[in-house]
Subunit: 220 residues, 2 copies
């Protein structure tokens, strides 16, 4: 019985996600689902991506959090349209809340010069549950951070398996932490041999060239 | 329908947790449920607690992870009885798996000199879901870490509300991170005005005196 109902919920989400995917595609929107542990730097990375692309790309942000409007307020300061979703205890976003948020956000369907528009979705801080819920996004990015340790890909396999790209944030802390970069790469590549891994620091702004170049290919 | 079944699951867990609580109490076991984000330092703190109490207290450890035996192997090296639970995707431990693990672990019911025994339970790395599942534990400890940022108590309210104590780990990184200690305390104390907060660093071993003193009161 429980399995059946869980399946129904998942089927319903899959259907809505499929519709979202069509909707985004028809409107020239590249939707990026950004997932990570609490405090890995999701909002800071979104802010940096905004700064890199805002001159030639229409951007909007959906902020997912259990409670508070802290992250949406940060994004709002940059003048980019943003909607805060409070899940009120819920441990992930789903296709339904993304549809509602997208329908109420002011994201122009086409950027200047025929470029696509960019919808950045910050999922709830959780390295487990969000990986099971398709939002209809174009890309899934998983952010890991140096202080979390190099063993995360070995433990949170479904999250890293789901990703189209991995960002390793807070590389400025490498001198102060026992982080084995080879082990981290080994863990990620064991799950996805070809996946791009971007080493960045939001604090020093280093490492974003390769990330923006990778993202750019989906916007043209 | 979905609500009803969810309620059944929760009721079943509550019942098992109640039985666990009686079992632990009858056997003189203090069970501590340790919850945190991935990479906050749960295993390192468990290792430090083991070192502080092992001379006069019987200790056993239950390690919860989605996958891998990395953490259990670390504990095993210290010679303390340990059981690894792999949840295979599950985002939290529950009272049932704790019962099974406890029944198969070699934890003597009484420590020397009539002190209680200590069962350290490392929950799955997740700052959301584990807070909803009573394990029958005596104490819930939430570990936050400096690199996660000072805003976590404002965002992950149910986790901090559930806690009997908060450990703030990785204080050695304070010089390299924009962490507002006052804001962190404000966030925690807004939810639980009287809760003890222990600032520690597993890297430098600082700050554990107050934590062990607090824990000691439950073992005598």
């Amino acid at each position: 019985m429980e399995v059946k109902i869980m399946k129904n919920i998942m089927n319903e989400n899959e259907q809505l996600a499929k519709e979202n995917r069509t909707l985004f595609s028809q409107n020239g929107v590249v939707a990026v689902n950004i997932m990570a542990s609490p405090g890995a730097g999701k909002t800071s990375i979104i802010q940096t991506i905004i700064n890199c692309f805002r001159t030639n790309t229409n951007i909007a942000v959906i902020e997912g959090d259990i409670a508070s409007t802290i992250d949406a307020e940060k994004i709002e300061k940059s003048g980019i349209p943003v909607i805060q979703i409070n899940t009120c205890g819920g441990c992930h976003l789903d296709a339904n809340v993304i549809r509602e948020a997208y329908n109420s956000i002011d994201l122009k369907p086409k950027s200047p010069k025929g470029r696509k528009s960019l919808l950045l979705i910050e999922n709830v801080g959780n390295l487990i549950c969000p990986s099971s819920f398709d939002l209809g996004e174009s890309l899934k990015i998983v952010i890991a951070s140096v202080p979390e340790g190099h063993d995360k890909p070995f433990k949170y396999t479904s999250m890293f398996e789901a990703a189209d790209a991995v960002i390793l944030n807070k590389t400025d802390l490498l001198p102060y932490i026992d982080f084995d970069m080879n082990e981290f790469y080994k863990g990620v590549r064991a799950l996805k041999p070809e996946i791009p891994i971007f080493e960045v620091s939001c604090r020093t702004c280093e490492g974003f060239d390769a990330l923006t170049k990778w993202l750019e290919q989906y916007l043209i």
